[in-house]
Symmetry: C2
C-alpha cells in the first residue's frame, strides 16, 4: 500500500507519518511505500523500513498534483493548507492553496483514469461554523464560516462529497478540534494560548493568558488527531452514505478547567507561571469560535479520542513530547 | 441606475427584465440603462424607454465577465446557470458554468477597483438540500446536495458570503422554490410535471402525471420569483449580517392539492385531461426532493409571495400567460 501525505511537514502530518512508519501498516494492509509532500521538503523520517519519497511542491501550482497522482497512491491524507490568519490576510493566496489546490488534486485523481479511485482523507476545520450558533453544535447545523479559511474548507467538503458521489474518488472530510497541546514554540495565532498555558508552564516558562477563565473551547490531543486520520483512512466509508463530511469528537473545556487540570497533573508551582494579561483583540476573535459539539455521528462511525478528560490531554503531552518529565 | 441581468434569456430573467422596464425603477431609483446577457442573445424588449444592451457571451469563458463589469452596473441579477440534469450529465460543463463562471464574475467585480461594490443578487436553489431531511427544512439546516448542480449552487453561496464579508461586493443568494406554473412547452425535466398538469389541461391538452397524488413539493409562481429578486435587489442587506443566503418563501402542496385547486379554479373538464402514467424513474428522483420549508428568516426580511393558495398560483398563470382565458 502506497500512502501520500500532503502537507507532511506540519505538526499533524509529521506525527501521522511517524505513526504509520512505526506501525508499518494502515488497517490490515502493509505499507510498502510512502510519499511526503509539502511546500518545503518534509524531513526524511529516520530508520524508515519502506521507501519514502520526499517532495517539495507548491500545492497552488496547477501542475503540482499530477506527478504525485501519477504514482497512484492508495490512500491520500490531504493536510495541505495555509492557516486561518494567513488566508484572511492574503485573500488570493488562501483561495489558490486552500481551494484551487484541492480542486487540482481531485481533478488530477479524476484524470488519472484506469479505474483509479483512491481513499482521500481531507482535514477540514470547525471554522466552517461561525457565530451565532448553539452552545453545542450538532451534526446537522449549517455552515456559516466567518473567515475565508472556513469558507474554503467548507467548499472543499462539498467538492469531495460530489466527486465521491460521482464515483471519482472515495473521500471523507473530517473537522478536527483545536489541537491541544500543540508542541513547539508559542506562536501568534489567536488560538495559541490554549496550548501555551499548558506547554510553557510545564517547560518552566511563563505563559500569557489573554482571555478570561470562563472561555470555553473544543480540544483534542495530537494523538487523537492522528487517530482520527487513521480511522478515516481505513474505515468502510459506505456506512456514511453521500454525506462524507463530519465533525470529530473532542473535549469541551473552559480555560479555568484547563488550568485546574494542569494543577491536578503538575501542581501549584506550574500553574503559577500563567500570567493573566487580557487582550481585547483576542477576546473578540475567540468569542466567535465554537465552544462545544455533539458528535454522535462520528462516535457511531467509530471515531474515538485518546483522552477522556483534560488531565489526559496534559498527560499525553508530557508522555509524547516531554519524555514523561516536566519542570515542577 | 444601470442594471445587468445575467441569464436574461431564461424564463425568470425575461420576466424580471419586463417588469423592471415596465416600472422604470428599482426600489426608489430610476433605471437609466439595462444590459441583458445570456449565452444566446436575449430578445431585445419592445418599447424600452431606456437604453438596453443585449450581450451574447459564454459565462464559462474566463473573459466574459470583465467587459460587463467594466460598465459598472449598480445591480447585477445573476441567473446564469445550466440546469440540474445537464450539470449532472456534463460534469465539466456544470462546474465551468455554475462554479467557475460565478467565480470569474466576482473576481471581475473585485478587480474593477475604485470602490466599485455592486449589489449582486444570485439565484440559488433548494437543490442545496438533499435527502434525508426533516419534513420542513428550517433556516439552519445544513447543505447536503445530492447533485453537482446543488453542490455548485451551495459553493457559490459560500463564495458570495465571503466576498461580501470582505467588502468586495454586496451580495445575497436566494433559493427559489420550484417555479409553478412554468410557461412554455412541456419539457423532460423530472420536475416538469408539476407545471405540465396545470398548464396543459388549461390549454385543452392532455398532461401526464408520472407520480402519485401524495407527492408533496415546494412551489412559487413566476410572479413571486420576480418579486423575490426585486426585493433582494433593493432591501438593506445589512439586516442579514454575514449570512447572505436563505430559502425563499413558497407554498407546499401535494399533487392532489394541485389538482383539487385546478378543479376549483377551472372545473372538472379541465382536470379530466390529466392522465396518470406512473414512471418509476421520476418517482425515484422526486422522492429525494424537499417537500416543505420553514422560511421565517425570509419572511422577517420582507420577502413575500404573490400567492396565498395554490388556487392563486393557477389564477396568476391564467392572468399573466393566458390573458385571463382557458379551455374549459
Amino acid at each position: 500500500m502506497h500512502i501520500l501525505i500532503l502537507g507532511a511537514a506540519g505538526m499533524v502530518g509529521r506525527k501521522l507519518a511517524e505513526r504509520l512508519l512505526r506501525e508499518g501498516r494502515l488497517g490490515k494492509q502493509d505499507i510498502t511505500r510512502m510519499t511526503l509532500q509539502d511546500v518545503v521538503a518534509p524531513a526524511r523520517p529516520a530508520n524508515a523500513s519502506v521507501p519514502v519519497s520526499v517532495v517539495a511542491s507548491d500545492f497552488a501550482d496547477a501542475g503540482a498534483a499530477a506527478p504525485l497522482i501519477a504514482e497512484r497512491p492508495d490512500v491520500i491524507f490531504h493536510l495541505a493548507a495555509i492557516v486561518s490568519g494567513e488566508a484572511e490576510a492574503e485573500f488570493d493566496k488562501g483561495y489558490r492553496i486552500n481551494l484551487d489546490g484541492t480542486r487540482y488534486l481531485i481533478d488530477a485523481i479524476r484524470a488519472a483514469g484506469g479505474g483509479y479511485k483512491p481513499r482521500l482523507v481531507f482535514t477540514s476545520s470547525i471554522a466552517v461554523f461561525g457565530a451565532p450558533f448553539p452552545e453545542k453544535i450538532g451534526d446537522e447545523f449549517f455552515h456559516t464560516p466567518l473567515t475565508s479559511y472556513g469558507t474554503q474548507k467548507s467548499i472543499c467538503e462539498l467538492l469531495i462529497n460530489d466527486y465521491t458521489r460521482k464515483g471519482l474518488l472515495d473521500g471523507i472530510s473530517i473537522r478536527l478540534p483545536t489541537i491541544c497541546v500543540r508542541p513547539g514554540k508559542p506562536n501568534k495565532a489567536a488560538s495559541g494560548f490554549f496550548s501555551n498555558i499548558i506547554r510553557e508552564p510545564l517547560a518552566g516558562e511563563e505563559a500569557i493568558l489573554p482571555v478570561s477563565e470562563d472561555v470555553r473551547h473544543w480540544h483534542a490531543s495530537p494523538k487523537s488527531a492522528v487517530g482520527f486520520l487513521i480511522h478515516a483512512g481505513t474505515m468502510d466509508l459506505n456506512a456514511m452514505g453521500p454525506r462524507r463530511n463530519l465533525s470529530m469528537p473532542g473535549l469541551s473545556a473552559t480555560v479555568g478547567e484547563q488550568i485546574a487540570a494542569l494543577e491536578r497533573v503538575a501542581g501549584k508551582n506550574v500553574i503559577a507561571r500563567i500570567k493573566r494579561v487580557p487582550d481585547p483583540t483576542i477576546i473578540g476573535i475567540v468569542s466567535g469560535w465554537p465552544r462545544d459539539f455533539v458528535t454522535d455521528r462520528a462516535l457511531r462511525l467509530g471515531f474515538t479520542t485518546a483522552e477522556k478528560t483534560f488531565d489526559d490531554i496534559i498527560r499525553i503531552h508530557i508522555e509524547d513530547e516531554l519524555g514523561g518529565k516536566f519542570v515542577g
